[in-house]
Symmetry: D2
Subunit: 228 residues, 4 copies
Amino acid sequence: MKRLKYPIIVLNLKTYSEAIGEGALRLARIAEKVSRETGVEIAVAPQHTDLARVAEAVSIPVFAQHVDPHKPGSWTGSVLVEAIKDAGAVGSLVNHSEKQLKLSDIAASISRLREAGLIPLLCTNDPTVSAAGAALEPEMLAVEPPELIGTGIPVSRAKPEVVTQSVESVRRVSRAVHILCGAGISTAEDVEAAIKLGTEGVLLASAYVKSKEPEKLLKSMAEAALKG
Amino acid sequence: MKRLKYPIIVLNLKTYSEAIGEGALRLARIAEKVSRETGVEIAVAPQHTDLARVAEAVSIPVFAQHVDPHKPGSWTGSVLVEAIKDAGAVGSLVNHSEKQLKLSDIAASISRLREAGLIPLLCTNDPTVSAAGAALEPEMLAVEPPELIGTGIPVSRAKPEVVTQSVESVRRVSRAVHILCGAGISTAEDVEAAIKLGTEGVLLASAYVKSKEPEKLLKSMAEAALKG
Amino acid sequence: MKRLKYPIIVLNLKTYSEAIGEGALRLARIAEKVSRETGVEIAVAPQHTDLARVAEAVSIPVFAQHVDPHKPGSWTGSVLVEAIKDAGAVGSLVNHSEKQLKLSDIAASISRLREAGLIPLLCTNDPTVSAAGAALEPEMLAVEPPELIGTGIPVSRAKPEVVTQSVESVRRVSRAVHILCGAGISTAEDVEAAIKLGTEGVLLASAYVKSKEPEKLLKSMAEAALKG
Amino acid sequence: MKRLKYPIIVLNLKTYSEAIGEGALRLARIAEKVSRETGVEIAVAPQHTDLARVAEAVSIPVFAQHVDPHKPGSWTGSVLVEAIKDAGAVGSLVNHSEKQLKLSDIAASISRLREAGLIPLLCTNDPTVSAAGAALEPEMLAVEPPELIGTGIPVSRAKPEVVTQSVESVRRVSRAVHILCGAGISTAEDVEAAIKLGTEGVLLASAYVKSKEPEKLLKSMAEAALKG
């Protein structure tokens, strides 16, 4: 399994039109440049169809946005751990709020990723669910209150207690899980605040993908992560 | 929209271990060779993560195995029409029995594919559902009784009436839809029988992917398709 | 199978707090009274847990809000055709926009309802999907553009063409299906307009359930249905 | 919230044909009789459509087989906490292997049940998932390895380590959760073994519902539970 450094910034490219094909490559290359210049770990999660192209183009860690728990076989249309690994991914988001899974499938996906030497990044929506998620021992866990996703309102400001309570409830169950702040991160200040609340990084999407100056934004975030 | 020739053989690579990465490329290249040699239209449907690599490697039509009906936006983990088009697909399976969709999503997927100039290949499971599917006017419709999928028992032999009734019920609703036979096709004889029952092609998976001699098998199928 | 009279008014009680237990009984009794007084067929669709109580309390037709396609067996938490029939239902909504089903499950639910002598009322969202639905030959089909549900804007006013096109597209596939107008019906005028556009009734929910004067409203609707 | 006594036997009537309407009432009355005679807590989980009738007919605790996490509103076809409470249920199964839920919905269902004074009985499939489930603090948690459900092979015999590991992993996360053994229980010996492995009861279905002598079987199980 690839060893990641913390703090970490994970960039979810979602299915934005700016992040398809060449767009995904461009956003991944900027992330690679900023990571090299600042020394901060930055990972990128492109769409399935761009996974191989992005993983070949950049040297930063590449994550899938979702993975199904199935073993190879008759699962037309599914995305397998074996397939994302072959495409060059080092891990996968699991249970993003836009791609939620049944509990047993979350457990199976995390388990299959680990067996393949890949890194699970589990998404949860509140402190209680974060504690439940921590029991499944993902490498990373990102708390994203659904009501804040895509709003530009950082959870660290709107609901700092969701972050601190999540950190506490996760810690009661597991000391190994790395906790990220996953909603409403749009500025360097948000990153710094997230780190100060006890997380080891952030998961963000629209603020980066839709930024007019993604390199400048990401650089300021990376620097803030080091300060945090 | 790419014009396809009929009869057609569509190869669904599913998520078999033999069809990941290099395996998918190898199977696609064999299909390309047989298509060139026989003049029969052969399409291949690899996994999402292999779509771009396969589409770049071969000149035969490449289909996605599934596509979500969403427009670009916040749909982490989904596979968009825009993304498969960018990756080089000319169409997509829709509603495969292993990836079934809600009725309104089937309609939206077909509609979005067509608007993007891509070809929908709708899968259905019996004559009644085939009639319903025909009303949505996909370019192709493959009937696959779920109880025969992966059995090696051709629907044309086990249940020829499912094929003939599907052809009839589809024709009552639409004259434009091309009907494929989609379950239990494992030999050249099955292909010939399917064509004789009134279809314009076949959709198959395991028989090709897991064949010890895929080129020989596919060539015999292509020749049978011309005879049928 | 119970023979219904047309025009018909179908009252979907949804899961509104006003329509649980005693509330459901009260709303069903008012409907029974108005039906008796006006001679117009009025049916009511309470929640599963109220089905038996409502069916025992009133003599008007009672529908389930949803039914699963499974045969009796190991389906914990599902609602079977056999169960709603035993509870006294004469039919069931199928594929309501708030409980959408896979295409093959819609077909199976309609088929199982008919085999049990119960009446399927299929919900669809636009003219194309209505044509597909008509091929499955439900007794009734309600068109409800999702963007109008619960808005109080009648489809007959906002998008009369959705109704007329649905009527036309359904008629091309089946002459037996009874078409209802299923979104935004909140006044007697809406009912009259829906009938004038070629439908044989309406499916409504909030306007009735949340009305301060449900009896008065329903009576005016029943009278409008006769005029329409 | 109703206080339950332990050990407990929970009878899931599923959607078996023997357990619809009068069948459900008969099976519930036998359970009531055995509970009264042996002093052992026995609960019964009938189908939604039978919930009110069963709860009115017997004085033992009645559970729903499933509950949706929604608040009252526009959720046609869903089963709400408010509705099962009104029907007389004291709690609900949550996430049965035949009705699995997304993680956030499990958390919301448990939370809504508790707020309404009802008892959540969470079903899980292995020790890891049981630990995750325990973090959500349901009153009861039943471990049912899916591969043993309905086989008649008791988990306590086939995989006793699944039970003991689940007990341990749950205990690490919560001391308050009552653990049940939920798969393959078909004899009094199985009940005794389950209790001896550290559980406080059993969840069973087919062995009781399909028994030729359900009263005799249940009585022997209740006596075994006291011995265990």
